[in-house]
């Protein structure tokens, strides 16, 4: 294969990626009005092979988005409503006693809702930490262990969790270890004024839009491979590393706000998330390699949940978004300002 042929295959894969992405996006917009950034972020996490944490007030279409994505991609979809009395066995599954044909009884494994392709963990912060931790193995190792049985989860596997920023009483904030396993944290905001009219027309009429599957799990896996093939030059890698280090208060790159208001910065998983999400961003931008601009474009959803504010930062009313913005301001693009 000559260089021209190989570059043609790469260009074809990149083009296909953009086309599928656009198709899925268009299909989702049939059910979801507006929320372009949220849809892009969810698709980025899906094609990058990560999980998404959606945060927003009730009634803005978080659950509908995930449900619609499952229909569009023709993937197995399951939904878990997290409550304080939810047990780990309710999530992972358990061995139950069933009656056999001969009249006897045997223990049979009944998989829980976590064994699926797209898992919607609704209001994940309402479950106890014990139940939340049941998601850890599934999210990181893509497998579930119950007793001596280990079940490999089917790919593509993606957990999309939602949490409500208000009504924090009776909730259990996600531990850092679990937060770190989400590739992106997407903040879902209120729709705009013109979007309200379309929402009302779409949801209060007698007819409802039927979503069709425009892709499938196999194609999603191919597109994930395309994303992995995108090269990352050293300059972009260095920029990602410096961004992650700048969130750590003891780092030499940390700005003043980070030093004063952050007690724990991002881990190397943050840099991995930056690179993976930046690859998707580069492909969608029509490039074949990651640029530092791509890293910066995905820095906010990749890093905002990996920054743990200190007491002083909380007392000063500093938010994680402010911290990431300060980090981006402190580290300009290569070649900028010269």
């Amino acid at each position: 294969m000559t260089t021209t042929e190989s570059s043609a295959s790469a260009k074809a894969a990149a083009t296909r990626f953009r086309e599928v992405h656009e198709k899925v996006r268009t299909e989702l917009h049939k059910a979801i009005v507006g929320q372009d950034a949220v849809i892009d972020s969810v698709l980025t996490a899906l094609f990058a092979g990560g999980h998404v944490l959606l945060e927003g007030v009730p009634g803005i279409g978080k659950t509908l988005l995930v449900h619609s994505l499952g229909e569009t991609l023709d993937l197995a979809f399951s939904r878990i409503q997290f409550t304080p009395d939810l047990m780990p066995s309710d999530v992972r599954g358990a061995e139950i006693l069933v009656e056999t044909q001969g009249g006897g009884h045997e223990l049979r494994f009944q998989p829980g809702p976590i064994v699926s392709n797209l898992v919607l963990a609704d209001e994940i912060n309402r479950a106890t930490p014990k139940t939340q931790s049941a998601m850890l193995e599934a999210m990181q190792e893509r497998q579930v262990t119950i007793g001596e049985r280990t079940i490999k989860l089917d790919e593509p596997y993606c957990v999309m969790a939602t949490q409500n920023p208000v009504e924090q009483e009776g909730t259990y904030p996600l531990p850092e270890a679990q937060l770190d396993r989400f590739l992106l944290k997407v903040v879902v905001g209120y729709p705009k004024e013109e979007e309200y009219l379309r929402i009302l027309n779409l949801t209060t009429g007698s007819t409802s839009e039927k979503l069709s599957a425009v892709s499938n799990g196999a194609e999603v896996l191919e597109l994930r491979q395309t994303v992995r093939d995108v090269p990352v030059p050293e300059s972009a890698q260095q920029h990602a590393v410096r961004l992650v280090m700048a969130t750590q208060p003891d780092s030499e790159y940390a700005p003043e706000l980070v030093r004063n208001s952050v007690s724990l910065g991002s881990s190397p998983r943050g840099a991995q998330a930056l690179i993976l999400a930046a690859k998707v961003h580069a492909l969608l931008a029509g490039r074949y390699a990651v640029a530092p601009e791509d890293i910066r474009a995905v820095a906010l959803p990749c890093l905002r949940h990996r920054v743990l504010l200190s007491f002083q930062g909380q007392a000063d009313g500093v938010g994680a978004d402010q911290v990431v913005a300060a980090v981006l301001e402190a580290l300009p693009l290569p070649g900028e300002g010269l």
Binding site: T3, S9, V230, E234, S235, A289, A291, P334
Partner: protein, 497 residues
């Protein structure tokens, strides 16, 4: 996707040269831009600083100090030039790498790092299809980049206002330079002129002054003079004439090389070095001048008290038995000294020495350490060991039951065996008066005579008082009270809990 072969197509082959040319071109412009940027940063400060020399010149002229304005302005101008040129030159000579230059081009042309990526992957051994695609993508852009003039935005170095400032300052400097009165001699020049004038004369140096003050002998300090003066009135039995005569003789003696410019009397009284002998000088040779100075100050501070103390001195012990010689008995060897010297004065009883005096003595004892016997002043004859029997059951008050009287010892204890380690008595002050006894007396209380109270004469009311009108406030008073309490509540409710 499989990795591509490391072949070099013609299109990619030209990319290296194109990127190299582009980076060189950008690097040159970048160096100039950096130098101009450094100039733009430093120039405003230098321009502002140009105001300093004229004001400095005027200010110094007002207080009567004349400076060579020409040299001053020249120095300032050279300094300003150096301050401006050095950072600019430093920035200009800073090397610009290819990657950095390509990043600048990417940034200028909004290429999202395409050239930087291509520059990084040009020498990559394993070219994946995506890397090749990225290089080809850069090829498409590099052709267009050659036509673009990469003009770096260079801001005006000095704003108009700052330039006007600088111009005014320079003008003022020039005016001052023109108005300044010719070359002005500095003090150093004046001094040099005086020295030259002095050396130019053929007259020999006055030898008399040199002979009176030998070079190797330090002149007596004012402090020593004070000490010498203080010792003079302390000499008992010496009249004013004698003193004058003695002083005259001592002055004669002090002109020798060994007298060190001081009188013998002053040496014996204020300096212990001659009486103590060699060990003390060897022990603390460097501290002697400081000690002399300290002692001089102390003597200067309390001359009256010393005189008072000396008048109280009573002959109790001879200097030979108590060891009080030339050093007032404070741990110094008894040496022969003139009878009129203060060392021959009897040492007062310890009970008569007040606390301050003891402190002084202790300090002197501290000074006298170093090869000298311990304090001999406190050595008293041992108590009488009289074994006389008292009357009846009462023992004799003088008897201590320790045997008969013995000869007096010059010193006792370990302290006498260890040379130069005096153990002075650290117990100072007087014994306390003891507990205060308070005696309470029991006294029976006595009734006092006082006039009867007038209330006892009052009687109960015989008839009702009648209608008592309800106390009502005037409207203005009621309003005032209401306003007061309302204000009070408002302030209390506005306070944070």
């Amino acid at each position: 996707m499989s990795e591509g072969e490391p072949s070099q197509p013609t299109e990619l082959g030209t990319l290296r040269a194109d990127l190299e040319r582009l980076s060189l071109k950008t690097a040159g412009g970048l160096s100039r831009a950096r130098a101009m940027d450094a100039l733009g940063r430093i120039l405003p400060r230098v321009v502002r600083a140009l105001w300093l020399p004229p004001f400095l010149g005027v200010g110094l002229a007002l207080i009567g100090v004349s400076l060579p304005l020409g040299w001053l302005f020249l120095g300032v101008a050279l300094l300003a030039l150096g301050l401006v040129a050095w950072p600019a030159l430093k920035e200009f000579r800073r090397p610009v790498g290819r990657e950095e230059a390509l990043a600048v081009v990417d940034q200028r042309l909004s290429l999202s790092g395409r050239f930087q990526t291509a520059g990084g992957y040009l020498d990559h051994a394993k070219r994946t299809p995506f890397i090749v695609a990225a290089l080809e993508d850069a090829c498409a852009w590099v052709r267009g980049a050659h036509g673009v003039d990469l003009v770096h935005p260079i801001e005006p170095l000095v704003p108009k206002r700052l330039a006007a400032h600088g111009g005014r300052a320079m003008f003022l400097m020039l005016v001052l330079l023109v108005l300044s009165p010719g070359p002005v001699q500095t003090r150093a020049q004046e001094f040099l002129q005086e020295v030259q004038d002095y050396l130019g004369t053929d007259e020999p140096a006055p030898l008399t002054e040199v002979a009176t003050v030998p070079r190797d002998v330090p002149q007596a300090t004012p402090l020593d003079e004070v000490q010498a003066k203080e010792t003079k009135p302390a000499e008992p039995g010496s009249s004013a004439d004698d003193e004058a005569g003695e002083v005259g003789e001592q002055e004669k003696e002090s002109k020798g090389s060994t007298g060190q410019g001081r009188s013998a009397e002053a040496n014996s009284a204020s300096s212990n070095s001659s009486a103590r002998g060699a060990p003390s000088d060897q022990a603390q040779p460097s501290k002697q001048p400081e000690k002399r100075a300290k002692k001089g100050k102390r003597q200067k501070a309390k001359p009256k008290r010393k005189e008072k103390t000396r008048t109280r001195k009573t002959p109790e012990m001879s200097a030979s038995t108590t060891g009080s010689g030339a050093s007032k008995g404070s741990g110094r060897n008894p040496t022969a000294s003139p009878w009129s010297s203060p060392e021959q004065a009897p040492v007062p009883d310890d009970s008569e020495i007040d606390e301050d005096e003891e402190i002084d003595d202790d300090e002197e004892e501290q000074e006298s350490r170093g090869g000298i016997q311990p304090s001999m002043r406190d050595r008293r004859p041992p108590v009488s060991r009289d074994l006389r029997i008292g009357f009846g059951n009462r023992p004799s008050p003088d008897a201590n039951g320790r045997g008969g009287p013995s000869q007096q010892k010059k010193s006792r204890g370990v302290a006498s065996l260890v040379l130069g380690v005096p153990i002075p008595d650290r117990v100072k002050g007087r014994p306390g008066p003891g507990r205060t006894k308070v005696t309470q007396e029991r006294v029976r209380p006595e009734a006092e005579q006082a006039p009867l109270q007038a209330a006892r004469t009052g009687t109960a009311r015989a008839h009702p008082e009648g209608h008592f009108p309800e106390l009502d406030l005037d409207p203005w008073l009621r309003g005032m009270v209401r306003d007061y309490f309302r204000r009070l509540r408002e302030t209390s409710s506005s306070k944070p809990n």
